[in-house]
Symmetry: C2
Subunit: 457 residues, 2 copies
Amino acid sequence: MNLDCFFRPKAIAVIGASNDPLKLGYEVFKNLRKYKGGKVYPVNVKEEEVQGVKAYRNVKDIPDEVDLAIIVVPKNFVKGTVVDCGEKGVKGAVIITAGFGEVDEEGKKEERELVEIAHSYGMRLIGPNCVGVMNTLNDMNATFIMDAKKGDIAFVSQSGALGAGIVYKTVKEGIGFSKFVSVGNMADLDFAELMEYLAETEEDKAIALYIEGIRDGRKFIEVAKRVTKKKPVIALKAGRSESGAKAASSHTGSLAGSWKIYEAAFKQSGVLIAETIDEMLSMARAFTQPLPRGRRVAIMTNAGGPGVLTADQIDRRGLRLAELEEKTIEELRSFLPPMAAVKNPVDMIASARGEDYYRTAKALLQDKNVDMLISICVVPTFAGMTPTEHAEGVVKAVKEVNNGKPVLGLFMAGYVSEKAKEILEANGIPSYERPEDVAAGAHALVEFAKARGVLEE
Amino acid sequence: MNLDCFFRPKAIAVIGASNDPLKLGYEVFKNLRKYKGGKVYPVNVKEEEVQGVKAYRNVKDIPDEVDLAIIVVPKNFVKGTVVDCGEKGVKGAVIITAGFGEVDEEGKKEERELVEIAHSYGMRLIGPNCVGVMNTLNDMNATFIMDAKKGDIAFVSQSGALGAGIVYKTVKEGIGFSKFVSVGNMADLDFAELMEYLAETEEDKAIALYIEGIRDGRKFIEVAKRVTKKKPVIALKAGRSESGAKAASSHTGSLAGSWKIYEAAFKQSGVLIAETIDEMLSMARAFTQPLPRGRRVAIMTNAGGPGVLTADQIDRRGLRLAELEEKTIEELRSFLPPMAAVKNPVDMIASARGEDYYRTAKALLQDKNVDMLISICVVPTFAGMTPTEHAEGVVKAVKEVNNGKPVLGLFMAGYVSEKAKEILEANGIPSYERPEDVAAGAHALVEFAKARGVLEE
């Protein structure tokens, strides 16, 4: 299904765009003014201008074709607005306004009516009761929250607030998204249809789903089976535990369903399962890398402890430490200091410079017993060193060897690591901050490789 | 054992203090110039002045009693320096210099000799091969790394680099420490003796240990048993898995030992076990709060999803959702909007203001079925709101009710939450950013309450 109208519209109408900074329609229009893919028109029944831009009374008054409408009008005006959009020939509408199916049965009925109206005009809906939609590729932020960092993950969230929280948290952590979709009540478009669209895009390397409850399980499985043949899908399901399921049922009004059923459905359709938000993000981020041919990991580090903790975490996930070839060990011994450990994990010790990272990464990537590489850098403890040279060393090695083995980075020193992480990320190498996160990423690559049949074992 | 000379010295000598920014002795002296608890003297064999301060050729030339020496001289001069310190009457020395027991058997012998010399003068040693010691209470940073944020956790790390990485990472995350001790090779002082000292201090609410290998297991258990009667001890043991243990043995040169043995030792001595760095920190941070009487948790939130995820996480750890009293439900219904969920988790929905947080927290804390409270705030989605009013509401309720039930905060929106987190923390309420972290904190409180015999069940 082509949903380009939602993600690459030529013209967007913000219906309910406002001059009042306390209204959501203010934020949405403000955010969309940075849109690079086309025109953005404010619609407001009372104002001549919104934020200095000529406003229209009705979407139908806009002297241009409009493919996407963002609806942030009060609830009583939503139905009329959907009709107006239909008459205007709008192809997609995101209904941010709340107060529908999440409230009561009457609201559910109203929601269904909105969908019927939309479909009668050939229009599709996202929402109602959502935060909106972002496409960072063309700077489209059709939400009332801050811009996500640019990245490679398409993130679809059934909770608007949680989705917003995750966008905010990842800005701090330097984790980026290609798209963010808050699906709200999913009156029309749901996980299945969005996944199907996202499977075909170039820019979305992985699809991450935050799920509270799926209504049409059969449809989800059927679509997910097709999608996961092309692209990894990672799901975090809230309400896995008994307490959580109870909590979820009171939140969404629908039964969250037994975790066992969801788990079976995910496994059957090749959807990778995450237990926490950070695990979901860590898994999804790995897919800028090629798929590994096996589960043998080489670890290189400038400090022993982090190497050991990472070994623990990969072991816990069923990956294993590669046994290095004798010639690799000899090569490492030829330039690393005598105190360095030339077994896997390779501990280059604190004196390691960028050149050591480069030569070690190169030797490990060329080792035929190594399927993937994790490069760790804690804070360099020798004055005058910054982690950036370490990142540059790894990037140089990867470019030179270029043999399709995945490489993941682990930079564990907060602000001190930020620049180094950016260097790796700019070269498509995901860079993590915690041993369990880099292991989750490595594990996700192996699981997807296995599902795709490229794992040689 | 009184180790005040290491943490509250009246005078410190930095032996190897330097004017060369590329030397560790430069950083150590620079960091210590902010020390509030006493005088700091640079010692340098060549320089008249170090960083503008009159320097001494030898520690013995200092015209003042010196209780602590930080030794950062080249390896060949360490032994002589220790002798000088002994003759001067120094009570404690931190040997940052590396190249001893971590290298080879010869180094181990040299290390033992240093200890013998020190003991012959009644002096104790930390190190060698360490990053140093911090006490944030009196701004003592006797390390070559950046200042830790002030907090309530005493953190003892067997890996210097990892310890440094954790200090750096927590500065970014807003997590604080009361003390940081990098124990290095533990030639003299070890985990047991440090724990014993830290058990008696006012400012250290919990003791967190990063352990690679313990030499004297019997001593550790014997001391830990006593310490955990007074204060919680949380241990993260690297090398739990087979791969990790192999990695650890190559790193420390000593056998890491079977995890089963460590696990039994920790359990037997009441030490709480963490699986990751973040779990260790999350557990330790909870102990600014009183201990709960039971494992029944009330959750309040302004968004459903995070409440469900948190319910999942507390369930996973054997805690459970409290069943609210009827009168609590009635009270909540009296002021929360109709769409709010007045069951546990209480979903006050996105419109919740500070007043709602205040009244809800108050009602939940007064409920006799509630043993502890988790207050969640995602990003407030109504324009004009900031999470600070939510934090203030919770603080006000806790102060008014004041009935000894622990309260933990969960603010899930990165930079947007920082001010709110600070408000909670300034009032002794730990504030987390992830559901699994707040659940780890709650669980640690319950486990410690159980061990202390205050859990009524």
